[in-house]
Symmetry: C2
Subunit: 347 residues, 2 copies
C-alpha cells in the first residue's frame, strides 16, 4: 500500500460514527446546536448560491442532488426518496453529503446523511415552530409515525419546550414503535386511533407521511383556528398531504419558493399565491405569527442550506474526536501535473 | 463497533485501489475497455436522462455535479476545476463519482475519479478520433503537456494505432515530464519548441491547456486541410483555446449541445451554428469525416454519460478483487421506519 499525503485524505463519518457522535453530544443538545446553525445560515440567506435540487425521477422514486455554497464552503447532499422501499425492508430515504473548499475545490468532509438528515429536518421544523407556532405551545399531533416522528418530537421538546405528543399512523405498528422509542424521553405520549383524535388540544400539527401521491391527510374541517401546521411529508411533485382549502385559510411560510412551488403543498395553488420566506421572518423583514386565530403553515420540503449547516456542524464537532476515518479519495501526485507519473510509479 | 448489515455497505475504490486496478488490467487494455463502454452508451444516447452539469463558479474555479441515468442505474460525478491550484501544489481537477440503483435509490459504488476521469477523457478522445480522424493517422501534436497528455497519447495508441506524438507546452518542464513518462511505452516522442513545430506532419492535433480564459492556442494559419482537432481544454464558460476562424472552417462534433454551447469552443459562435452530435455519427444517423480535405473538430467538454460508462466499467471489474473497501455509508435499521430505535440502541 502506498501512503498518500494528507492532501489526498477526506474525513469520512460513517453511520456508526455518526451515531457515536450523536450520543457523545447528546441528541437534544445536537438538535439545539443544529437549529442554531441552520438559523444562523438562514440569517445570511442572500449570500448563498441557491438552486432547486436536481432531481432524477423514476416510477418508484426520486434521486436528488442538493448543492449550495456560501462562497467559502460548497456543500451538496445526495438523497433518494422511495416510499415503496419500506415494504422491501429498505429505507425510504438514504443520504450522504459532502463539503468542499470553494478556493481549492478539494472535498473537506464526506458524511453519511441518512441519520443526519433526520436530525436536521427535525431541527429545522422546531426552529420554524419557534418563530411561527403559538407561544407556549405544549402539545403536538404527530401524523405519520415513520422514521422522522421521534426526531420531530424531541426537537420540539428541546427547542420550544413541547411537553406532549399525540401519535397517529394508518399503521398502528408504526405508532407503537414511536411510542416505545419515546418512552422515558420526557415527553407525554398518547397513541391515537385517528388523525382527528391526535389533534385534540394540539397547538402544533405535524404531518409526515410517505405516500408518493396527492393524499389528503388533513381535511379542511379538521383544522381549527390558531394552530401551526408543520407539513414535511409533501416534498416532491405529485406528493401532497393537505386539502387545498386549508392552504387558503393559512399564512404559508416556505424555505425556497422556486423549489417549494414544485414540490411542496403549494403545488396545489396558483404560481402567484402569496407565500413568506422563512428567512425573512427570522431576520425581521417579514412578519411571522401575528394573531391567536391565525393558522400558520410551514410548507417544508427541505432545502440544501439546511444540509450545509448540518455538515458544517459535523465538521466542527468531529475535530479532536475519533468519530471519522480518513479516505484516500483524492489523487495527490508530488507534481500536480504528473498524475501519469504517479500511476506509473504505483505499478 | 456495531456491525451494519450488508445493505448498509457501499463499495469504495480509493485512489490507491484505482491505481492497482489499472495495473491489474493494464492501462492500454483499460483504455480500450472504457472506449468500448463509452461507445456502447453513446449508441443508446437517447435513453439517458441528460442535463447540463450543475456548476458553482467562483473567481478561482468551478465545482460541478454531473448526473445522468439510463433508467436502471443512476450516476453522478463531483469534479472541480481550479487552474491556479497547480501553482499551489494541488491538482487542477479532482473528482469522485457514485453509482446508485434507480429502483431502490441505494448507492452501489463510490469511487475516486481523479485518475478515472483522466482515463475516461482520453478514451473518449480516442473513440471520437476513431470516427473522425483521417484513416491511418499516425502522428499527433499534443499541445499542453499537463496531467492529461500521456493518457491522451496512450489512448490514441491503444485505440487508433498512433505511432508518434509531438509534445509542446509553454512550460518546457511539462514537456520534459510528459516525454519522460512516455519513454518505453511504444510511441515515438518528439519534444517541440513551439505549437507550430508540434503540428508538423500531425494528422491529429490535441489541445489541452488549463488557463481559465479565452486563449488562442491555435490560430487560423496554423491549421492545414484534412486534420482532426481534438480540443479538450476549453471546458467552461470563458475558457477557449481555438481562434474562431478555425471553427468556421471545421465540421464540429460535440457531446451534448446544450452543455457545449455554454462551455466549449463553440461558445464563440452564434447559438444556431450547426454542430453534429457524436452519438449520431456512431449510430450512423449522421456523417463523420467525408473527405481528405475536411477539418474535423471534436469540441469536447466531457459529459456525464462518459463518467457513467467509466463507473459501470469499474463496478464490473472490481468484482472478485480486493481493489475496494466497504463503507458504512447507509443506515440500515432492522425496521426501516425505526431509524430512531437504531440510534437509541447504539447508545
Amino acid at each position: 500500500m502506498l501512503h498518500p499525503s494528507s492532501k489526498a485524505y477526506v474525513p469520512f463519518v460513517s453511520v456508526d460514527n455518526m451515531m457515536k457522535l450523536v450520543h457523545h453530544i447528546g441528541l437534544e443538545n445536537m438538535l439545539r446546536g443544529l437549529a442554531y446553525e441552520i438559523e444562523t445560515d438562514f440569517k445570511r440567506w442572500e449570500l448563498f448560491d441557491k438552486t432547486p435540487r436536481v432531481a432524477s425521477h423514476s416510477d418508484v422514486g426520486v434521486i436528488e442532488l442538493m448543492p449550495t455554497s456560501d462562497g467559502e464552503a460548497y456543500g451538496f447532499k445526495y438523497v433518494n426518496g422511495h416510499p415503496k422501499n419500506t415494504s422491501e425492508g429498505l429505507q425510504t430515504v438514504t443520504a450522504f453529503g459532502l463539503l468542499a473548499d470553494v478556493y481549492t475545490g478539494y472535498p473537506t468532509l464526506l458524511s453519511e446523511m441518512t441519520m443526519l438528515t433526520a436530525i436536521r429536518t427535525a431541527a429545522t421544523s422546531a426552529m420554524a415552530a419557534k418563530h411561527l407556532a403559538p407561544k407556549g405551545a405544549k402539545t403536538m399531533a404527530m401524523i405519520g409515525n415513520g422514521a422522522q416522528s421521534e426526531f420531530q418530537t424531541l426537537a420540539m421538546k428541546a427547542i420550544i419546550g413541547l411537553e406532549a405528543v399525540r401519535l397517529y399512523d394508518i399503521d398502528p405498528e408504526a405508532t407503537k414503535k414511536a411510542a416505545r422509542n419515546l418512552e422515558g424521553m420526557g415527553v407525554q405520549v398518547t397513541k391515537c386511533k385517528s388523525a382527528e383524535e391526535s389533534m385534540e388540544g394540539a397547538e402544533i400539527i405535524t404531518t409526515c407521511t410517505a405516500d408518493k401521491q396527492c393524499a389528503t391527510i388533513l381535511t379542511d374541517n379538521m383544522i381549527g383556528a390558531g394552530v401551526h401546521i408543520n407539513a414535511i411529508g409533501g416534498d416532491c411533485p405529485g406528493k401532497t398531504e393537505l386539502a387545498a382549502e386549508i392552504l387558503h385559510r393559512s399564512d404559508i411560510f416556505v424555505e425556497f419558493p422556486p423549489q417549494t412551488r414544485i414540490e411542496g403543498e403549494i403545488q396545489q395553488l396558483p404560481q402567484d399565491h402569496p407565500v413568506t420566506e422563512l428567512w425573512q421572518v427570522i431576520t425581521g423583514q417579514a412578519k411571522g405569527r401575528t394573531s391567536d386565530k391565525q393558522i400558520t403553515l410551514f410548507d417544508s420540503v427541505g432545502f440544501a442550506i439546511e444540509d450545509f449547516s448540518a455538515l458544517r456542524y459535523v465538521r466542527e464537532h468531529i475535530k479532536g474526536t475519533d468519530f471519522f476515518q480518513n479516505l484516500d479519495m483524492l489523487a495527490d501526485p508530488d507534481d500536480p501535473r504528473d498524475l501519469f507519473g504517479m500511476l506509473k510509479r504505483a505499478g
